[in-house]
């Protein structure tokens, strides 16, 4: 008899959305409260849960992200955020507390950009398991 994963897969479909929303919440709350660096790992976990309950081929068909492009984008964004401070005459990667105000949504701080690039880089692991 083959293994039937109905229960795991159906529950995963529900639970992934809880994890994903929570990950976004942590990403935007993390810079002033606890647990900002956790976010990359949590993003990764959401994908790992999908990979565990289905298999690699199904998920790479369902989520068409090219992880190699993503890693490239992530590395270049983190480089550019570092270089930006050189342009202004400060040492490489010096910390800024500049906020960009968006109407209606509130404010987004510049460190968010750096975290975003790190999250892209953390997809390295997932991309690795996918491409081999």
């Amino acid at each position: 008899m083959k293994v039937n994963d109905v229960i795991l897969q159906t529950v995963t479909k529900i639970v992934v959305f809880i994890i994903f929303t929570f990950a976004f919440y942590l990403f935007f709350a993390g810079h002033h409260d606890t647990g900002g660096g956790f976010i990359g790992g949590l993003w990764l976990h959401q994908l790992v849960l999908l990979y565990l309950s289905y298999d690699i081929d199904t998920i790479s068909k369902a989520i068409p992200i090219n992880y190699r492009t993503l890693i490239g984008v992530g590395v270049s964004v983190s480089m550019l955020t570092g270089l930006g401070s050189i342009l202004l005459g400060f040492p490489f990667l010096s910390h800024t507390f500049e906020y960009v105000d968006f109407p209606f949504f509130g404010r987004l701080s510049l460190p968010h950009l750096y975290s975003l690039s790190l999250v892209c880089c953390l997809q390295l692991l997932v991309g690795h398991s996918q491409s081999f």
């Binding site: 008899m1 039937n4 109905v6 229960i7």
Partner: protein, 158 residues
Amino acid sequence: MPVQILLNLFIAALWMFLQDDWSISTFTLGYLLGLLLIWMTRRFFNEPFYLRRIWALIALLVLFIRELISSSILITRQILRPKLNITPGIFTLETTLETDLEITVLALLLMLTPGSVVIEVSEDGKTFYMHAMDIPDSSDMALRSKDKFEKAIMGVTR
């Protein structure tokens, strides 16, 4: 059912536009108004009023919690008994439910019935193989409560 919920949200948003007030309380008021309007025009839809399904969902949730409490009491009694008196075993159970969601909800419910854990689901999803703590008692209880669960699940999904 999705059409009715969308229509209801639309009525609530429209109410907020008309009132020119963007707060939660206005939205809730608009939603309640939408419920009333949909209830008044419910014969125009080809399906039953969607609150009935929400009611069935709440009944299912209450069933879940009751099963969880009663099975915890049973397992506590069995663990704390000075001399273990159990006859475990694996038995089969047939179901008539079809879609993945229904099967999963039934499996979760059965896992919470006193003294049974689903070990394996057959390939077509029609047969559950379950481990029971006390084979005549627990399997009888699971067989008896299965019909009740199936009816409660079908009230939500169909």
